[in-house]
């Protein structure tokens, strides 16, 4: 029999979210990676990824989730994503024809022509996921998942 001594919501919620968090993360990655062909893209996929961690925060409380995804990790991810985005946008100006957001993969054959767009989407997805999770985590404050504020330690 599984017993749960962690704080937060009930065992049913925690079990369901333990099953769902992987598929949600995978779905977010799928939306980011296939945004150039199917509906979606970096922003929507980043929001889905952030929502998986927000679900975990709601079910287990903040200390548990911070073990998986610390705030400084989220900030680092957001910065890396934004730097990827700006860097790729700038790369065309610097190396190519002088156009901002120049498609660097334009001449590649077949599906590799999508590489530039996918990289842009990965950048914006990382950024949105990190920034949204960080904003949520900061706004939640010390929340233990059961509607109580933690004692000031």
């Amino acid at each position: 029999m599984y017993r749960n001594n962690r704080p937060g919501m009930g065992t049913i919620v925690q079990t369901v979210i333990r099953w769902l968090r992987g598929p949600i993360l995978l779905f977010g990655l799928y939306i980011i990676m296939y945004g150039h062909e199917a509906p979606g893209g970096g922003f929507g996929g980043g929001v889905v990824i952030a929502s998986a961690f927000i679900l975990m925060t709601l079910a287990w409380g903040e200390p548990y989730t911070l073990e998986f995804f610390r705030r400084d990790t989220a900030l680092t991810l957001a910065c890396i994503g934004l730097l990827i985005f700006i860097g790729l946008a700038w790369a065309g100006t610097w190396a190519g024809s002088g156009v901002f957001f120049e498609n660097l993969a334009a001449g590649l054959p077949g599906h590799e022509a999508h590489l530039f767009m996918t990289a842009l989407e990965v950048g914006s997805g990382l950024f949105v996921a990190g920034a949204l999770y960080l904003g949520f985590s900061v706004l939640m404050g010390h929340y233990d998942g059961a509607g109580r504020e933690e004692e000031e330690s």
Partner: protein, 182 residues
């Protein structure tokens, strides 16, 4: 199709009115969430699944945030407002609404793109050259991330500044060198 869309928009208008009128903040937040999800379905019916995906995600997160902000606090709003203020608000909304109604006379027929009236509109160029110029068959992604990449970059910058501001304001203690996880 158009009837379903009209029903959805009518329901979201009802939800918005309930959100404003109800004295309980939690009911208000739930009504706002209902408006957002109805709008997501409307976007889906209007063949804009990209916007529907983002709308559902952002709506879920903001609903959780707003509920968290309102639950367990004083949720009864003050019900009385001065009559002059109400009259002024109604007058402002009426004037803006009258100007907004004029826009509908400039619209093309329902279902046609608004840029269809101009032969050399940017939208025509995007549709004609988007796939091979950007390498994205999905034209929405091509426009968002390439043709109007500046727009997305500005959006990201705004989000980044908002999160940094929230982080700076909401933290409880000053950061110490041995305390990196908070």
């Amino acid at each position: 199709m158009t009837e379903i869309l009209a029903l959805l928009i009518l329901l979201s208008v009802v939800g918005a009115i309930v959100a404003v009128v109800t004295p309980n903040l939690v009911y208000s937040v739930i009504s706002v969430g209902a408006v957002g999800f109805l709008l997501a379905i409307a976007f889906l019916l209007l063949s804009a699944p990209d916007i529907a995906v983002v709308q559902i995600g952002v709506e879920s997160i903001s609903l959780v945030l707003l509920l968290r902000a309102t639950l367990g606090r004083e949720t009864q709003q003050g019900a009385t407002r001065p009559l002059v203020g109400v009259a002024f608000a109604v007058a402002v909304v009426a004037v803006i609404g009258l100007f907004g109604l004029q826009v509908f006379y400039e619209f093309p027929e329902f279902g046609l793109p608004a840029m269809a009236r101009f032969a050399d509109a940017p939208a025509a160029t995007y549709l004609a050259t988007g796939a091979e110029a950007t390498g994205a068959p999905n034209i929405v992604t091509a426009v968002l991330l390439d043709f109007r990449g500046w727009d997305t970059l500005g959006e990201g910058t705004v989000l980044f500044c908002a999160v940094l501001g929230a982080t700076a304001i909401m933290r409880r203690r000053a950061r110490r060198k041995d305390d990196v996880s908070k």
